[in-house]
Assembly symmetry: C2
Homo-oligomer: 111 residues x 2
DNA sequence: TTTTTATTCAACCAAATGGTTATTAACTTA
DNA sequence: TAAGTTAATAACCATTTGGTTGAATAAAAA
């Protein structure tokens, strides 16, 4: 995998298990065992997936007793969103025009 | 790499060479040789990168004389954007609050 | 027709990926 | 202290990735 940060983030996201883990963490912190629960996979494999997410900065690790609860850090997702920005107009062109038209109408008739 | 579509797309994007190619194609169609120009890499390697982008549906291939011009298809990027949607509020929360506050002010003092 | 240009394909290789099992470490509980 | 739980690490393996070179294909140009 390429070593630049954005590539590391996108690569981390390019796996349904890891995206599933992020989805779970969007609802709040979770332990490794909790994160592993939906998957038919060894804890070692889960641990590796978590390491990939961590290297990408997408999750952070805490420590409570024998647990290492993970929490989501959305910052790298923001970077992905910003990268998309340059292309967004390409699929939103039609909507943009409508949006501007609506703003134009509002400027005329509404306060 | 995982076989689901979104994973295929994100994986295709997780490489600076391939993102560079997309950036070039955002300015319009380009031949393989044109796309290869910035990279110190064999044509065969370029061809493989293009195949990855094509499998992800990010580019389409034309045919003109001996050239196979590629063009960008932004549709899969839209899918990435839609996946991000669920997380967007997490990094935009503060801005949202500010935005709502400004709208509130505007509703009061401005037309 | 021969040669050149543009591109792909085939075979190969080293390194990375994604899984496994077995072991180790840290902490809790009996 | 001993046993159980949680999680990471080490060693291993098969497959994939991302590059190479060399040959093949297709069209254009000479």
């Amino acid at each position: 995998m390429a070593s630049d940060h954005l590539s590391t983030v996108l690569n981390a996201l390019a796996d349904p298990t890891r995206r599933g883990m992020l989805a779970r963490l969007a609802n709040g912190e979770a332990t490794v065992t909790e994160l592993a629960e939906p998957y038919d996979m060894s804890m070692a494999a889960i641990s590796k997936h978590l390491k990939v997410l961590e290297r990408a900065g997408l999750i952070e690790q805490g420590r409570e007793a024998q647990y290492r609860p993970r929490k989501l850090n959305p910052e790298p997702l923001k970077e992905v969103d910003q990268w998309l920005e340059d292309y967004r107009q390409m699929w939103e062109a039609r909507f943009d025009r409508l949006d501007h038209y609506l703003r134009h109408l509002q400027g005329k008739s509404d306060g």
